[in-house]
């Protein structure tokens, strides 16, 4: 973002960056930046809070009054990502003959379909669509239990895309199942990796692929880096 600010300014457009990494902004020094220490992925801070978003924009636009730059100002409020699992029901075990994650994913399909119907779109589909999620989890379950990941059937061998689709399927379903105010940053991510069979399966498969000697990007980007 800071690089693009310099590029756009050079083209004659005044720029304002909503910065999410202060140290990088200090180094690249775009003309005007408002450092917003909000959950990563939420640069306007709070979803479904127009008043808060307007305050962020007002403080950002106020930087246009500076006579010279670079200008770097901190937004006065810090919002920390929850990073605690949201309370979200999971389907009961239905078919004990299936790996737990496969059974679980099937049980979440109605919630996923409600989300799709309400939003009219989905981010699932880089490697597999919703129909392919249980099978994808079956692949990862097999890998976690000793199958060779290179012949397990991962579409294009793209573990990042496959895990994106699994996680997104769960996140979109979970948003239909959670009551109350919007979940905080990474709250559903934390639920996925600490509470669901799918999350445990992704983590176990990632470990197996890493221990099998796969190159770093193959296994690392299957989950957030801190896990």
């Amino acid at each position: 973002m800071c690089v693009l600010a310099h590029v756009f300014e050079a083209a004659g457009i005044a720029t304002i960056v909503l910065s999410s990494v202060r140290e990088m902004t200090e180094k690249v020094a775009p003309p005007r930046a408002l450092y917003c220490e909000f959950p990563l992925g939420r640069p306007l801070g709070r979803p479904s809070d127009p008043a808060f978003q307007h305050d962020v924009l007002a403080r950002a636009f106020a930087l246009l009054d500076a006579p010279q730059g670079p200008v770097l100002v901190d937004y006065p409020e810090v919002i920390t990502a929850d990073e605690q699992p949201v309370a979200c029901a999971l389907p009961p075990r239905f078919d004990p003959s299936l790996p737990p994650a496969v059974d679980e994913a099937r049980g979440l399909r109605k919630a996923y379909d409600r989300a799709l119907g309400r939003r009219g779109m989905t981010a699932v589909g880089r490697a597999v669509n919703a129909d392919g999620i249980p099978e994808a989890l079956g692949m990862l379950h097999a890998i976690a239990n000793g199958a060779d990941w290179t012949t397990a059937g991962i579409p294009g061998g793209n573990t990042t895309a496959l895990c994106h689709d699994i996680r997104t399927y769960y996140e979109e379903a979970a948003l239909e199942l959670v009551d109350g105010p919007p979940p905080g940053g990474r709250a559903i991510e934390d639920w996925f990796f600490t509470k669901t069979e799918a999350g445990a399966t992704v983590l176990a498969a990632r470990t197996a692929i890493r221990e099998a000697g796969a190159k770093f990007p193959i296994w690392f980007y299957m989950t957030p880096g801190h896990l």
Binding site: L4, V7, E9, P30, R42, T80, E189, G225
Partner: protein, 150 residues
């Protein structure tokens, strides 16, 4: 270490491109300015071309589009906020409200989306696709850009 702490520490250590003679635009009054959003969330419209990994290109987003998919490849940030409210990444409805109130002059007819997960040298967006996107917005009459990261 939390996920956001990990990523902020990781991002802070990435190579930082230098700009020895940075440009500076003295803006005209905001109430007379056309404002556009440039995001690095890799947003793209349903049915449009998705972003590939390390994609250095960009997509235009027409002003009235709201059916936007988050195409960023990194697993290292919250992805649910934008599913709840597009404006938490792409504050297009907030800009429309500011235009109605006369705070800004006009909302641009089209906006720009890049992918934040760029190659470390950022050479292409710095020398090629970035200038092309900026020239397109300038041609559209855009005066001010607000850049939103992911």
């Amino acid at each position: 270490m939390s996920g956001d702490e990990f990523m902020r520490e990781y991002s802070a250590a990435l190579p930082a491109p230098q700009f020895s003679n940075p440009a500076w635009v003295t803006p005209k009054p905001l109430a007379e300015s056309t404002v556009a959003i440039v995001t690095s969330a890799a947003l793209y419209g349903v049915g449009d071309e998705a972003f590939s990994t390390a994609d250095t290109s960009y997509r235009f987003i027409e002003r009235d589009r709201r059916d936007l998919v988050l195409g960023h490849w990194s697993p290292n940030f919250d992805r649910t906020g934008v599913q709840i409210d597009l404006n938490v990444v792409y504050p297009i409805d907030r800009l429309e409200e500011l235009a109605q109130r006369g705070v800004i002059g006009k909302v641009a007819d089209r906006h720009i989306s890049f992918a934040g997960n760029q190659p470390d040298d950022v050479a292409t967006i710095r020398m090629d696709t970035g200038p092309a996107a900026a020239a397109a917005l300038r041609k559209d009459g855009v005066d001010v850009v607000i850049l939103t990261p992911v």
